[in-house]
Structure formats: C-alpha cells, structure tokens
Amino acid sequence: MRRYGVTNTNMQRELEQLHESSLAWARYCCRQSTEEAEDLLQEVYLRVLDGRARFDGRSSFKTWLFAVIRRASRARIRARWLHLDLLERWFRAEAHTIREAEPAQRFQESERNQRFRGALARLAQRQQEVLHLVFYQGLTVEESATMLGISLGSARTHFARGKQRLRELLQGEDLR
C-alpha cells in the first residue's frame, strides 16, 4: 500500500520512531492515565496502519499523528456520553470517564515533578496543550497552532499567557 510516498512499512517505522512522544501526548490527552493512553494509542496505530487514518502530506507526520491522537481522544470522550455513560456507571458502579493516574504510578514520580504536573494542570486547557507541545514535544508554536487547529496569533497568546501563569504558580510552589 502506497500513500503519498509512505508505504505501510515506512508508516510503521515512523510510528515506532515517534512512539515515546506519541505516548506522552496520548497520556496528556487522557489526563495522565497510562492505561487509557495505551488503549487510545493502540486504536490510533491500528487506524493508521490499516489505512482508516490517512496521512495527506500537508503537514509533518508528527503534527498529523498528534492531531489524530487528539481527535481520537476527543471522540472517545464524546462517545462515552453517547453510550449513556451515566447509565453504565449506575449499572457497573465504575467511574471510568477519565481515569486519574494510578496511585502506584504517582508514588513513583518525584515530588518535584508531581508538583510541576499539578501546577501545569491548573492552567487553561489550551495553554497546557501549547506548552506541552512546545516544551515537551519540541514543536514550534506554529506547528502547535496547526495541530490544534487554531491561528498562530491565538497560539502565541496561549503560549505567552501559559508561561506567565505557570511561572506564577511555580513561584507559589517555590519550584523554580
């Protein structure tokens, strides 16, 4: 199978190369739940490999893949509501909307990182996303804007305000 010069084998290689970054982004999209993130990533990988999600070459592969992961996570959240999540919870008595990070996993994290994650979580959603993509994933603000489907100006504003707010929060925590 050949699409836009990328064969299925090449596609798999690309996915493997970006695997660590993709998992971090998926974990971010799933509010730090590793189990949820792996499940989401598996779904995305299968979708890419069997051709249901097609790379059109309009952006870098990484930007496109991250956008697919983000869309898939949003679709899952929406689908939960459509699946009468409340009714399901009532039947199963299981809160599973977006699982928080497992306690054991949290315990392993250093206290400093835990506090940093806490401060990050207090930012607005868009600010968190832009900061994660720029600082954690190494994308440019422009690439982040493309990936999130927002204008460059808007992405820059989120980036600047996010940094400012994060610094304020870290100063409060004395983490800088």
């Binding site: 996915l15 493997e16 695997h19 660590e20 998992l23 971090a24 974990r27 590793t34 792996e38 499940d39 990533l41 598996q42 990988y45 299968l46 490999l49 459509l82 699946h83 009468l84 009714l87 399901e88 996993q105 392993q108 994290e109 250093s110 400093r112 990182n113 940093f116 994650r117 900061l131 994660h132 600082f135 954690y136 940094k163 994060l166 610094r167 870290l170 983490l175 800088r176």
Partner: protein, 129 residues
C-alpha cells in the same frame, strides 16, 4: 529563548521520568483490547420499543372509550373560565337588575327599596343675587 530555560528544565525532567515507563511499540499494538462493553444505546432502544408496545395499545383503547361529544372542540362562546365562580359574589343580582320601588331587592327578600323621607332635603341650587 533563554528566558524559558527554567520551564524547559522542568519539562525535560518530566520527559525523563515518563521515558522510564514507556512500553514498547509492539506491546502497545499487540495489547489485548479491553472487553467490549455492552451496547447501552441498543439496550435503550429496545427499552423504548418495549415501552411503546405496552403503552401504545393502552392509550389507543382509552381514547376509543372516550365519548365522541367530549372529543368535539368546545365552542368559544360556550367556554367558561374555570375560575368563573370567584366572580359570583353575594348580592350579585342587585347589580344586574333594576330595582323596583316597593318590591324586595332580588336575592334579599327582607329588604325594600324606599325613600327616606326624614333624610336631608336636597340641596337647593346656589342663589345668585
């Protein structure tokens, strides 16, 4: 941007920590899919159909039993307000009929309308000199 060195350092620390617990690509692709959940949309649909099957005939029968005259639309002139009775106050008839001198007032057989001869004389018009 050198200003962001502090934030970059924190993010790098997070990344290092995250890398320690990354399962391999093949592990993620080959992991067992979570057990499929029962389709609650389907269950809700079946429930709705059942409810319609039970309630539908009952509703149909109750409508069929209702008299035809009741089903006819009430004419606008025949319509009476449900709170009309609140306007029926005591002595209402007195206001609706013209009293006749020497006859009891309607609705109050003991009372007679009569002129009071002992009352004050009607005022004379102003005299102009």
């Amino acid at each position: 941007m050198s200003d962001d060195a502090d934030l970059r350092e924190n993010f790098a620390s997070l990344r290092i920590e995250d890398l320690r617990r990354v399962p391999s690509f093949t592990q993620v692709v080959g992991r067992s899919r979570p057990a499929s959940r029962p389709d609650f949309r389907l269950a809700a649909g079946v429930l709705c159909v059942l409810a319609a099957l039970v309630a539908g005939p009952a509703l149909w029968q109750s409508r069929a039993r209702a008299p035809a005259s009741k089903g006819a639309a009430t004419s606008l002139t025949d319509w009476r307000s449900p709170t009309d009775f609140l306007l029926s106050t005591a002595g209402l008839q007195t206001w609706r009929t013209v009293p006749v001198i020497g006859e009891p007032l309607p609705g109050d057989p003991g009372a007679f309308l009569h002129f009071n001869d002992t009352g004050p004389a009607p005022r004379a018009g102003r005299e102009h000199s």
